[in-house]
Amino acid sequence: MDIAFYVTAAVTILATLLVITRHNPVHALLYLNVSLLSHAMLFYLLGASFAALLEIIIYAGAIMVLFIFVIMLLNLGKETAEQERKWLKWQVWAGPSLLAAVLFVELVILVSSSDGTAYEPAEVTPREVALSLFQVYLIGVELAAMLLMAAVVGAAHIGRHKRLVLHRFLKEEPEENVHEEEPVL
């Protein structure tokens, strides 16, 4: 089981590194997908099978498809890859690398100061997840619901458009005019 965990962890790190270094956006998104799938695998190995499958259903199966959908529509070709190549100079890497290095040092200190006992995988059932969501973290769920509602209303507003009718027979007329004589044009 340990070997499976380390192999999956290595795949996750490698895939994530490839995500940020690819020039072609679709290739980067596909590596992000691999990264998400291996994340799900890690969750599963740690006993959180419910979270693992939700990760695949929601992130890999729905959100990433939408990302690829948009990139596909933009039809980004060789020019974008060229542009990315020009933008990704070493100066750009400096800031993020510094911040990541701070996090890494922090991680090393935390790991070395722990007592060295391994995490024991314990099965987390869907029932436990549901109970914690609707008892301990209820306020978080409600806040997320409000945020999503606002997003849905916003999307509906942006997506609404009045249909332009050019043909006079298809134009919607007010109710009272329906039975009258045809108006003289």
Partner: protein, 315 residues
């Protein structure tokens, strides 16, 4: 060691059976369509034309496997494999009979939903990598259709989960010992079947490939065995959805007199024939009609079904 060997044997038998049944379905579909459309269908190669399957396979293997020079090679090659792999992986959790299944995951139903949600990648990537306008249009339609109907598929099953109290498929089957869920969840069954047809993008919902509008949609540029993978993936999808309908709503292997496996196969066969009958009898809706039907009709009905089921479950 014995345990591991048993699993490997099971997987090999399952793979062999499923792929041969999927190939044989091509013959069944063509014969049944012919029957319903009052013509003969393939009847020359072998008895009842059964060898047409072998002829088709040999033809596919020996066709030129052409990759267009303008295509994205790596992604173009990967795309057809994804659909077959995702569908075959879903069969891991299908309980064919007591003891005849690969893995009895405690989140089996979610595993099925997860794998069917990954199947959309083969359409999206295949259409995009072909670098062809018809393929891209097919891919766009496929992506929106499959993402939408995935939502309804999950929602329509939650009523069953509520009643049986488990995501494990064997528990769901055992919960139907007295009464099949099709009786207590008729709305869920109809919605699941509709969403299942849309997920396998079979006629009447084969809008991603709509040959009268888009040549062949997302697989216009595919030939040879790569096209064969899409083809086999579609038939495997039919078997999968039929098997899931039987497991979730029609009591799975449960039934009197006959052995459990026979019951399962018989029930699944009925739904496979239903899939073919739907193809023979229904016209294809327009793309926007399909999306409106999904979001304005199926979604509210599925939510209402969930609400009523929840109220009953609480009582």
């Amino acid at each position: 060691m014995n345990e591991v060997f048993k699993y490997i044997l099971m997987i090999v038998i399952l793979l062999f059976t499923l792929t041969s049944i999927a190939a044989w379905l091509i013959w069944l579909e063509r014969r049944l369509l012919a029957l319903w459309q009052d013509r003969y269908g393939p009847n020359r190669a072998g008895p009842f034309g059964l060898l047409i399957v072998a002829a088709d396979t040999i033809k596919l293997f020996f066709k030129e496997d052409w990759i267009p020079p303008f295509a994205e090679k790596a992604i173009f090659v990967i795309a057809p494999a994804i659909v077959a792999a995702a569908v075959l992986l879903s069969f891991v959790v299908v309980p064919f009979a007591p003891g005849i299944l690969v893995s009895d995951l405690n989140v089996g139903l979610l595993f099925f939903l997860a794998m069917s949600s990954l199947g959309v990648y083969s359409i999206v990537l295949g259409g995009w990598a072909s670098n062809n306008k018809y393929s891209l249009l097919g891919a766009l339609r496929g992506a929106s259709q499959m993402i939408s109907y995935e939502v309804f598929m999950g929602l329509s099953l939650m009523g069953v989960v509520m009643l049986s109290g488990s995501f494990r498929l064997t528990d769901i089957v055992m919960a139907q010992t007295d009464l099949w869920f099709v009786v207590t969840q008729p709305v869920g069954f109809v919605l699941f079947l509709t969403a299942g047809i849309a997920e396998t993008h079979r006629l009447p919902f084969d809008i991603p490939e709509a040959e009268s509008e888009l040549v062949a949609g997302f697989h216009s540029e595919y030939s040879g065995m790569k096209f064969g993978m899409f083809f086999i993936g579609e038939y495997l999808g039919i078997i999968l959805i039929s098997a899931m309908v039987v497991t979730i709503f029609f009591g799975g292997w449960l039934g009197p007199v006959l052995p459990p496996l026979v019951w399962f196969v018989l029930k699944t066969f009925v739904f496979i024939v239903l899939f073919i009958l739907l193809r023979a009898s229904l016209p294809r809706p327009r793309y926007d009609q399909l999306m409106e039907y999904g979001w304005k009709f199926i979604l509210p009905v599925a939510l209402l079904n969930l609400l009523v089921t929840g109220a009953f479950a609480l009582m």
